[in-house]
């Protein structure tokens, strides 16, 4: 392992930094703010956080943990169970951490993924004490080449007092050269970011660091967790079908060309299935300007349908990973990994005219989308980057299954129990039952279209009944206040919304 490390680490005399994970974890003390690499379960530091959890068993400590986005290898769960997390931002997807958040034990600060680095740079968050960054290599200057994600790592390195590098000798060497690291200038002297297309390169293939900050190098040989994306189901195939029809129509109407516009696709099984759908249809020369490159990205690249994909991380299933990680050279000229504040940058999203496809937990009859909370209160994952893209892109699409929990819950409700994306940010809604094109419509018109096209047929009469009674009361966005959240109250009480059908 050390021999591999000698090969990967070209910093002269690097072994003077060599440390065990346990020793490196000692650099992190109670009350500190720590930034770790990792984005959608890709490229997270793998050894130091586990050492920290082990240590906490003897010697309890609590930190504020910032990352790019979610961590893999159960690290968030292990840290939560060990009581290490006082505060956590900006995103997570872990079942056990979620439990701790919802019990009020961990303070979770859910943020737009483009914003965390800004807040840190502008000193609006605590100063970062330590950064822990996974690297595939270290250059002779000590610069860090990240692994399968960039996330916030470059900003963490720039802002932290001390940096711990986890040199992962198992990460494919072909990752070297894939990254494009660029950080915006300090305000008020900030220059335009010169990206003109998803394939524009504007930075370095490594994270620049003052070697004096490097406090430890820990050698590891871990693997990222494979993604848990489930294969397309009938429902997701239908969703994809509706969306493909929609895109075909946009092309036929001259609003889009067959290469569409740079695509962003959110996390989760539904979004992945939709992207797969693009293998069919009259599309060519597609590009992505997204956060996470999933299986569907590589299938599209392989099929020749997609020309280029820009992201901040690569997260693959076991099967797709085996194909891609061993042949990464093949994709070298067709993918790039950027810091998340660039992949999600509102200015780039607006300039490129990104087509944003994200997943909703539920949406209401007027098109307000809830991506994060069950029954108003229980956090699922977080808003992630969906808000960066949905507000600023050319087309904002949200997809969802029309029902959840075997049909007990309608994902189309009278009143969203939490709003992450207000109606202004939502152009198109899609479920397995159909697609509602909401562009240019007022709320009352949106309601008709959403109910008729997206709701599960057996929930439609109850939705129509609510809408009609609300309209009788008047208003731009008619509602029956005392009833608006009753569907959720039923869900909470009975685990089902079906009782609304009996009213």
């Amino acid at each position: 392992m050390l021999e591999d490390a000698d090969y990967r680490c070209r910093l002269p005399d690097w072994r003077r930094y060599l440390m065990s994970a346990d020793d490196a974890a000692q650099l992190i003390r109670d009350g500190m703010t720590v930034g770790m690499s990792g984005f959608t379960r890709a490229g997270e530091a793998k050894a130091v956080p586990l050492a920290l959890a082990r240590r906490a068993e003897q010697d309890p400590l609590q930190i504020t943990l910032m990352t790019g986005a979610s961590l893999g290898n159960d690290i968030d769960g292990i840290l939560a169970d060990a009581g290490v997390l006082a505060r956590r931002m900006p995103f997570q997807v872990d079942r056990r951490l979620r439990g701790a958040i919802n019990r009020g034990e961990v303070m979770f600060i859910d943020q737009h993924l483009s914003e965390t680095a800004e807040l840190l740079r502008n000193k609006q968050l605590n100063r970062l004490d330590v950064a822990v960054i996974e690297a595939v290599a270290i250059t002779p200057e000590g610069y860090i080449v990240p692994t399968a994600s960039v996330g916030n790592s470059a900003s963490f390195v720039a802002q932290a007092e001390r940096v711990i590098v986890e040199l992962n000798v198992a990460a494919p060497a072909a990752l070297i050269g894939l990254h494009d690291i660029y950080l915006p200038d300090m305000r008020p002297e900030r220059h335009p970011i010169p990206i003109m297309a998803p394939d524009t390169r504007i930075g370095h293939p490594w994270i620049v660091v003052d070697p004096a900050k490097i406090a430890a190098i820990v050698v590891t040989e871990g693997h990222d967790s494979p993604s848990t994306v489930t294969p397309p189901s009938d429902a997701t195939r239908h969703i994809a079908g509706h969306l493909i029809d929609f895109f075909e129509n946009e092309v036929a109407s001259g609003r889009l060309t067959p290469s569409l516009l740079p695509l962003q696709a959110g996390i989760g099984s539904v979004a992945n299935a939709v992207m797969h759908g693009l293998m069919e249809g009259p599309f060519e020369d597609l590009t992505m300007y997204s956060e996470v490159l999933q299986d569907s990205t590589f299938d599209l690249l392989d099929s020749g349908r997609m020309r280029f994909a820009s992201g901040s991380a690569i997260t693959l299933s076991q099967a797709c990973g085996e194909r891609v990680w061993h042949n990464l050279e093949r994709y070298r000229d067709r993918i790039v990994l950027r810091p998340q504040e660039i992949s999600n940058h509102p200015g780039m999203v607006r300039r490129l005219g990104v087509i944003a496809i994200n997943t909703a937990l539920e949406f209401d009859i007027y098109g307000n989308v809830n991506s994060t909370h069950i029954n108003a209160s229980q956090m699922m994952n977080g808003i992630g980057g969906s808000g960066d893209f949905a507000r600023n892109g050319q087309l904002s699409i949200f997809v969802a299954n029309a029902t959840a929990k075997k049909g007990e819950l309608s994902s189309v409700v009278p009143f969203a129990s939490h709003v992450d994306h207000c109606e202004h940010d939502v152009d198109v809604l899609v479920t397995e039952h159909g697609l509602a094109d909401l562009r240019g419509l007022a709320p009352r018109e949106r309601a008709r279209r959403i109910i008729d096209h997206c709701a599960a047929p057996f929930f439609r009469p109850a939705l129509n009944d609510y809408f009609e009674r609300a309209c009788a009361r008047g208003g731009h966005t008619p509602h029956c206040l005392e009833e608006a959240l009753s569907w959720h109250a039923a869900a909470q009480r009975e685990g089902s919304m079906r009782s609304v059908l009996d009213r």
Copy 2:
């Protein structure tokens, strides 16, 4: 008047386009989509819309009307009463139009103000049949110099089949040269917008138009309506005071310099009072990158505190207008008017790090802001540009009076009855009672701070009671679903929320 027009219009042989307003209005036919100049009651077309309303009395017709933002001179009300408006976007502030919207008679499409021009350019809205644009002058090439607002006028001219120009000879000639008209390139070949600071000029001082499109020139001599901003009250003075203390502290802590960052201030009395507050305190060399330049902007410029202000419109009170309009030359080098998709551009807002100050109707204990709807249903004005700035700036501040309707309604509620700005977009909340700095806080922490700092003292016990009972149920964002909207239900029933105090 025609002689003045000869002086203002340098297009050779221009009188062949000369038409009365009534004749020009004949170019607009039933079912058409019409784009008119006008932004926050500044620079709206004044003659043709009135002619249209007159004609509708004999000859009913309905159009889709797009503008920059709100119109002055009661035009929206007159058009609404005449039944001319089938559809209206993207913003309005008129009492009578609001009534028609809330009765469901006019379909109002409430949009982020940076987006309308994009949607039009990308053919996601109806094709524009006619544009009606107020001009202070017309160049020898036929190019249009707008009056006190740019708004969407340049895009309307570019997209419309035919253009009617209202040449307003009463508009001050000193407006000529004040505008900076730049439209983004078509995607996917769009270049970075080269603005580096509020004072960067990147375009032309006129709107380029193919003279073949000019269908009529109507000569007018109207005036913009003065703004209805009310003078600072005790409450708004307190709000301003809290915010100034906050800024002072940001400067003292090294997070901002005494010139802060480019400021955006929303419409309304509260935002204007806050900007006035900047006359006090250690601030210098201030700049604005905002939508509408109000009285406070000119007071700050006059005082020497502000160096430069960029906006899309100038809207002044009677008194301030008298001072400014007759001495506009004095401000020539210190203000610029841009298209609203540039003044509100997400990329510029992020690049410059705008400090956004907007007004809320209400916000909930977790910091979700409602800027638009009363009791979930009744539209007030619209989201305007607040979402462009709040999501993408460096600091997003919302101000409000802690109560409305003489204390009967709390502006701090358990659950916002409508969400325009989700908690992720809200850094700071201010009422006359205090300021809640929410940066880096999780929802449960936000609640304590919002209740303690912002709510009216006599509503605090009821809010705390709700929050505590909600926390006992658990969740990241604790709520009592069956009670969440009960404050609004009381307000709707009784015109007062005070009954919640008796529970």
